[in-house]
Symmetry: C2
Subunit: 360 residues, 2 copies
Amino acid sequence: MTSASSHLTPCLRHSAACAAGLLVLVAGHASAQTAGPAPLEVPARTVPVPNTVSPEMQRIIGAPLRQNWNIQPKTGEEWKGVAETGAAGTIKNIPGMLERLKVKVERTTIDGVRAFVVTPETIRPENRNSLLIHMHGGCYVLNPGEAGLPEAIFMAGFGGFKVISVDYRMPPEAYFPAALDDGMTVWRALVKTTDPKNIAIFGTSAGGALTLEMVLRAKQEGLPLPAAIAPGTPMSDTTKTGDTFYTNELLDNVLVSRDGFCDAGAKVYANGQDLKDPMLSPVYGDMQGFPPTILTSGTRDLLLSNTVRVHRKLRQAGVEAVLQVYEGQSHAHYIRDDTASETKEVFGEIASFFDKHLGK
Amino acid sequence: MTSASSHLTPCLRHSAACAAGLLVLVAGHASAQTAGPAPLEVPARTVPVPNTVSPEMQRIIGAPLRQNWNIQPKTGEEWKGVAETGAAGTIKNIPGMLERLKVKVERTTIDGVRAFVVTPETIRPENRNSLLIHMHGGCYVLNPGEAGLPEAIFMAGFGGFKVISVDYRMPPEAYFPAALDDGMTVWRALVKTTDPKNIAIFGTSAGGALTLEMVLRAKQEGLPLPAAIAPGTPMSDTTKTGDTFYTNELLDNVLVSRDGFCDAGAKVYANGQDLKDPMLSPVYGDMQGFPPTILTSGTRDLLLSNTVRVHRKLRQAGVEAVLQVYEGQSHAHYIRDDTASETKEVFGEIASFFDKHLGK
């Protein structure tokens, strides 16, 4: 602590000797380190709500940390109660979303897997043959049923695409790899009737991870790949590895901490499986041959590192991969409020990317 | 403070009532706020050096905060002393860089403006007609002469391009808009002999801002525009506006704080000019018609917000603009050590982008 606080001592004399110290870091990058880099001690700070985002986004960013972010349910049964309570709150907002975005939703099952068909009033002519698959988020344990729909509704409404949203099994109904298996069942079924060149997969958080996992699995099984994917702030590493797990801790008002509820949920879903398995932490998967990918995150996102790590890994594999990072946003803020201009911007970017790559 | 710390209270009972609170944020985004969003109180934290980057980058990220980051020289004369001391340290590393990257440097003047011609031993055949203009960084007051060259050498060496690095005037020799004027003099001279379709402009920090400012100025003056630009972590807003000025404060070990030396340097250069002038804060400029742009930043960068804000503004203006954000890096870490794999990756990405857009 002594050495960290001494770095904070201001240079009170504007002398040459004082100035000389200023650029030591520039001049000799390695000279300051002999015994391995020490952790950084960051003092307490007051962080204002940014004025560089819309008023709607300011409300989302300015909300207090999620209540009870550090609950740690240990079983699927406990999570079911948490999930149902949360779902009730989300579901009551759905009719308003459907009305504002002119989208309708129907339940279906696809080879036994529960799903929703989400259709905009107007499918853009160039999207008439396109189909999107949506994998919802929620740490593999939250957002059952209609509660998983907001992002699918935003994509259908803002993008003018038909979307199949997969209501995959979650604990306690089933554990790893059930969510992925359900996604793959839907994938296998859809590619029988729709050219995979016309299909994209997207999702946020656990849904972003499942999007990546589905491509990894399709590669393994020799199945066709989608034409494009859009993993939003993917839970690409469930081993608590990634710099922004630390730098954005207690700044991200959604996930809040690497030791929070989301980590607890992923662990229950994993059910003892090694968390480094690429089907739980897809950043460790082989991304050679991946389809064009658009990634979305925010500057306060606890998973910003796990988004940019996937971006870098895709680029290193020679994949066309683009990154969108939004000012001030914590984890998945862009699927909160369809009236925020940033929400429309996020889904507009993804839609343009899909336009560019589908049907080619 | 009381209300902020109450949000941190763990939910100790795994009851339904406790669980019910968990998803309030998901369910009703605006319900928690009635009197306008409050700032976030972030407690002190210990942030380890990430293990998700190369050992070379770990040394750079793990270095202590820049010594005397908060000096506040108030005049050009004072800055000159600081700049010369810093330059001496940087310049002694240049011969090694030139040797490792097989690059040579010659002084020149272009219509009276000091510059360097930076030439790789091997110019790639597809780059034979291409020319890059480099605007160095240093808060408009640092890195005079050869001290501004490392980034130009990295670009020439890793990218296989011929580079003209502009040694623009700085305080106390001249003040705003001298740096920009010198860049424009070089631009006007070069487009007389080289097709602007074969020229790109790049630079980091103040050099990233100058890159953007040169395009704004060329638009204003009806001059041709470059084929592409690469502003790295641009000082696009010198008014201390941008969320990561707060969220990454004391995490970024280079700039450290919005109230640090760099802010002081920009103010001396501005010499009384309104800092919101787009020629000092280009994020406020009109970006319609900009050439394809590749932006670079890092997750700990104090200017991450000012990089992503430029990216968003370019995209909103319909410009082809791509964003690269590197794990764990503070401001301009990618121009520190040419032996770090991330450095090669950054300049490789920029070179590929230039390849795609030059000569078209």
